[in-house]
């Protein structure tokens, strides 16, 4: 940083920046970047003129690893991309391979998948809400969210033994039958959790500080979202009523009755409202799925050794963060020839530059939070 003084000719000296413009590095070790994201901000005083994201700090080469593993072996790796919504990742991967080998999971497995995926959507939104509110100075929501999230993680742990990287599903269905009392416990959780959403809302929805910090911040319109390829709650917050669960139903979502939550203004506040409503809709779906849980097998007939015919397939699901797609090319061998993951966080993050322009530095924190990125998925 430099101040221009008249008796020193600083402008000639290239080691000093122009006094009106300042480059500021934010991250990669910054608590509000939710991981290792580095943002280079171009500032005019407090005002942001532009932002450039530097990513790749968490790059593990998942797509390369996939080419060296069998279809079954790659299953656990997908959990480690978006690690707060690992169930969704697993569902997307299993369904894509099922599409490739032309198998459909039995109805019971589909219901179990929907229940766990929706529970996972709630936990993902809880992590988002807690950390996002914490970034903006609200301390309580993070404790409330993590307290309630624990109850859902307990169900995951009881079902498959893992809390975060669950690897709950297999190609063709589910590995495990539900444990005794599963339905009752999930329904009890729904009863327990619904009033908790009201609790979160009491803390924030009409909170004056929250409204001041989020209303009109990071505005992006529907057409801009579509041009930038932004999906998920960010797209819906801008008023586009589009959800893959409705547009291209998978895993039996067409059987459940739920609404797509949308906002109007495309600002941070609307995206908050959309996610809160999505949690309520998830509870609604879970209730229906548990109540109509059919009996029957949980695994389709799938060969022990997966050797799909040559071909390629693209399939995508509505992950908590947006459209999560898998593109798999098979050459008829035991290992996938190529797996491409279309990560929602990576694509959504691209809109950051557009959203922060003209705002203040403090708003950058709010906007990174509102896009809801997980760096494990951005970098893969």
């Amino acid at each position: 940083m430099t101040t221009a003084t008249s008796n020193l000719d600083l402008h000639e000296d290239k080691t000093f920046l122009d006094s009106t413009e300042l480059i500021l590095n934010m991250g990669p070790q910054h608590p509000s970047t939710h991981g290792v994201l580095r943002v280079i901000l171009k500032l005019d005083g407090e005002k942001v003129l532009g932002a450039e994201c530097v990513i790749g700090y968490l790059h593990r080469g998942v797509e390369k690893i996939a080419e060296n593993r069998t279809y079954t072996q790659f299953g656990p790796y997908v959990d480690r991309m978006d690690y707060v919504a690992s169930v969704s990742n697993g569902l997307g991967y299993c369904e894509t391979v099922e599409k490739l080998i032309n198998v459909e999971a039995p109805p019971r497995a589909q219901h179990i998948r929907v229940i766990l995926t929706e529970l996972n959507r709630i936990t993902s939104h809880q992590v988002w809400l807690g950390t996002h509110a914490l970034d903006l100075g609200a301390m309580t929501p993070v404790f409330y969210c993590f307290r309630d999230r624990e109850e859902i993680l307990k169900i995951f742990e009881k079902y498959c033994g893992a809390r975060l990287t669950t690897h709950a599903f297999r190609v063709g269905g589910c590995q495990w039958e539900t444990y005794e009392g599963f339905e009752k416990e999930v329904l009890r959780l729904c009863d327990f959790f619904e009033p908790k959403i009201d609790e979160y809302e009491q803390l924030l929805t009409t909170n004056r500080i929250w409204i001041e910090r989020t209303k009109g911040v990071g505005v992006i319109s529907g057409p801009q979202c579509i041009a930038m390829g932004v999906t998920g709650p960010v797209l819906r917050g801008s008023g586009v009523k589009w959800d893959l669960r409705k547009a291209k139903p998978y895993s039996g979502y067409e059987k459940f009755d739920f609404e797509i939550a949308t906002g109007e203004n495309g600002d941070t506040y609307d995206r908050y409202i959309v996610r809160i409503r999505e949690m309520r809709q998830s509870v609604r779906i879970i209730r229906q799925a548990v109540e109509s849980l059919p009996a029957g097998p949980i695994m389709a007939k799938v060969p022990k050794v997966l050797k799909p015919l040559p071909g390629e397939v693209y399939h995508s699901i509505e992950a908590p963060k947006g459209e999560l797609g898998y593109f798999i090319v098979s050459d008829g061998s035991l290992q996938p020839y190529r797996i491409r993951v279309r990560p929602p966080s990576f694509v959504n993050l691209q809109a950051l530059d557009q959203m922060v322009r003209g705002r203040l530095i403090a708003d950058v924190v709010a906007i990174i939070g509102t896009i809801d990125i997980v760096l494990g998925e951005v970098d893969r």
């Binding site: 790749g56 797509e63 390369k64 041009a227 930038m228 586009v240 694509v347």
Partner: protein, 136 residues
């Protein structure tokens, strides 16, 4: 839909302008080193909100050939094309800012090419920047 690389851009343009494919889901590539010429498949996945239809456009290009960038049609292709360049070394003509995105800018090698081994890395870069023998 498989198209010839010479008309790929026109096809994409028509899909964008006239057929309402307004959302570019993904841009990606597949490497086939055993094919003589046309070593790469380049794939665009497009979606139309109006028709609720998804379409895959594929073209086969030679190693070293440049492809016209679609950033002008779908701004989202910016990072997606950068990733394809980063991983495969396919150059996009008219891209506003074609740099590596996930790997360091001065990294050598394109990891998703088939001849690139899974444990292979840019030793010189690791040595110079991290001061260790191996990053693994």
């Amino acid at each position: 839909m498989v198209v010839d690389p010479s008309i790929a851009y026109e096809v994409l343009q028509i899909l964008h302008n006239d057929e309402s494919y307004d959302y570019c889901v993904d841009v990606t590539a597949v490497h086939y080193p055993k094919r003589e010429k046309q070593e790469f498949d380049l794939i665009w996945i497009l979606y139309s909100f109006a028709q609720n239809e998804r379409i895959r456009v594929k073209t086969q290009i030679t190693d070293g050939a440049t492809v016209k960038s679609v950033v002008g049609l779908w701004p989202t292709a910016n990072w997606l094309e950068r990733e394809v360049y980063d991983m495969f070394g396919i150059k996009f003509e008219g891209h506003p800012d074609l740099r590596r995105i996930l790997l360091p800018e001065d990294w050598k090698g394109f990891p998703l090419r088939k001849e690139h081994g899974i444990k292979q890395q840019d030793q010189a870069w690791v040595q110079a920047n991290l001061g260790i023998q191996s990053g693994q």
